[in-house]
């Protein structure tokens, strides 16, 4: 089967009909950018983000035969990345703890927008408890649906929705948009 001439979008590709090499190229083309943003945010360090990403893609290549549907590719890749990140985190925990506790990496150095508003948003996201932050990161950065996030985090969809609700509620509170803890009050 020729690899060239496939004009459909990455989600419509029939993975059973294309070569492993082409499948891998499509994965990079379709998802590397989103994954890099996610990786950089999680790792807080360019070199580390690239390392973990390379390792994740290496693992993806090795088990690419198990990927049958293009629609599942993104979730599959993010799952591999998350596992790899957890492995690296465990391995190099002392480094991360150091980085986090001392705030040693400035956002501007990473390449993020250094406007006060952007900084405040990132800071608010950082302050969220991990259980609320994770689904929000996946929804906002990864573009995943609640069902996909549930599958990625191995929790129920309703639990995901509850966590997302609390995450945004807290974000709004941190940003001073919503002061009252009660639902439905919008500060004008």
């Amino acid at each position: 089967m020729s690899d060239s001439g496939n004009q459909t979008g990455p989600d419509q590709v029939n993975y059973a009909m294309i070569s492993k090499k082409r499948k891998y190229a499509l994965l990079i083309e379709a998802h590397a950018q989103d994954l890099y943003k996610y990786a950089l945010w999680l790792c807080k360090d360019k070199v580390m983000a690239e390392d973990v990403m390379q390792e994740a893609f290496l693992r993806a290549w090795k088990s690419l035969d198990s990927l049958r549907e293009a629609k599942a590719a993104k979730g599959w890749l993010f799952t591999i990345f998350r596992r790899e990140h957890a492995r690296q985190f465990e391995r190099k925990q002392f480094q991360y703890r150091d980085v986090e506790s001392m705030d040693t990496l400035a956002d501007a150095q990473i390449g993020y927008d250094d406007s006060p508003q952007a900084f405040a948003l990132r800071n608010a996201l950082r302050r969220l408890p991990a259980e609320y932050r994770e689904p929000l990161e996946l929804q906002v950065l990864g573009g995943f649906s609640c069902e996909e996030i549930a599958s990625l985090l191995d929790i129920s969809t309703s639990a995901v929705m509850t966590r997302l609700f609390r995450a945004r509620k807290k974000m709004r509170h941190y940003l001073g948009v919503e002061a009252a803890p009660e639902l439905g009050l919008v500060k004008k």
Binding site: Y36, M53, A120, L121, M171, L183, V186
Partner: protein, 250 residues
């Protein structure tokens, strides 16, 4: 407001807004269409998501994509290798592990040393940064107060500033390895710069002279306040202004 929306009330709608703002349910769309307040709420949530997405936007390094592609080609080549390479790799990994363990010990010790050194350097870094950054023109003070409060709240939502008519907000300053709020205050005796740095508060209030500046490091809840001025009276007045204005809403 929402009596006509039988399927979804405003409370349910806003709850759904916060958990899934791109919800595709017909009832969700219908409610948004019929209730202007809820539509406004939805737009606010979507705007926050969009701003958050933009704030995390970075360009993917071009060479990373090339490396990912190259990696796969190398894997294909490596796939043909035999047991010898596996054994060599195992030996390498063992040696690597030993090195890593040694390195970990060294790093662990260095981390503790590093924390102390970093805080000794804090003042120098801030002063050098302030010297390097031109003082910004005066902003409209209500905007300066609002922005400063948003920033402070993003560090610690209990940390607030009462409105200060002499506040001139500057910008977020990466300041090397530190992050903090960098702003200036206009006093009767000249301008002072103050920096709020999140982190471990230093033990005592400390006044020093550094490169023609008079500086004060003041430990506060959740971090340190660094004040820099050319004139002692300006420093005292600025410090007093800040003491009055800064509070923790707890």
């Amino acid at each position: 407001m929402s009596e006509q929306n039988q399927n979804l009330d405003c409370l349910e709608f806003q709850r759904l807004c916060l958990s899934d703002p791109d919800n595709q349910q017909a009832a969700f769309a219908e409610h948004a269409h019929n209730c202007t307040q809820c539509m406004g709420y939805l737009n606010e949530v979507k705007a926050m998501d969009s701003s958050l997405r933009d704030s995390l936007d970075v360009r993917t390094p071009g060479d990373l994509i090339a490396r990912l592609q190259l990696q796969q080609e190398m894997q294909q080549t490596r796939g043909r290798c035999g047991l010898f390479k596996a054994a060599a790799l195992a030996a390498l990994l063992t040696a690597g592990s030993v090195l890593l363990a040694g390195w970990w010990q060294v790093q662990h010790w260095q981390t503790e040393q590093q924390v102390e050194q970093d805080y000794q350097q804090l003042l120098a870094v801030v002063v050098e940064h302030v010297q390097g950054e031109a003082f910004t023109p005066v902003w409209e003070f209500t905007k300066a107060n609002r922005t400063a409060n948003t920033l402070l709240a993003s560090y610690d939502d209990a940390l607030q500033l009462y409105p200060m008519s002499n506040l001139q907000f500057s910008r977020i300053c990466p300041m090397g390895e530190y992050r903090g709020l960098h702003a200036t205050l206009q006093t009767d005796h000249g301008q002072i710069t103050f920096v709020y740095l999140r982190g471990q508060p230093l033990g005592d209030l400390l006044d020093t002279a550094y490169q023609g500046f008079i500086t004060r490091v003041k430990p506060v809840r959740g971090g340190n306040l660094v004040l820099i001025a050319r004139d002692m009276r300006a420093l005292e007045q600025g410090a007093a202004d800040l003491s009055r204005a800064m509070y923790w809403d707890i």
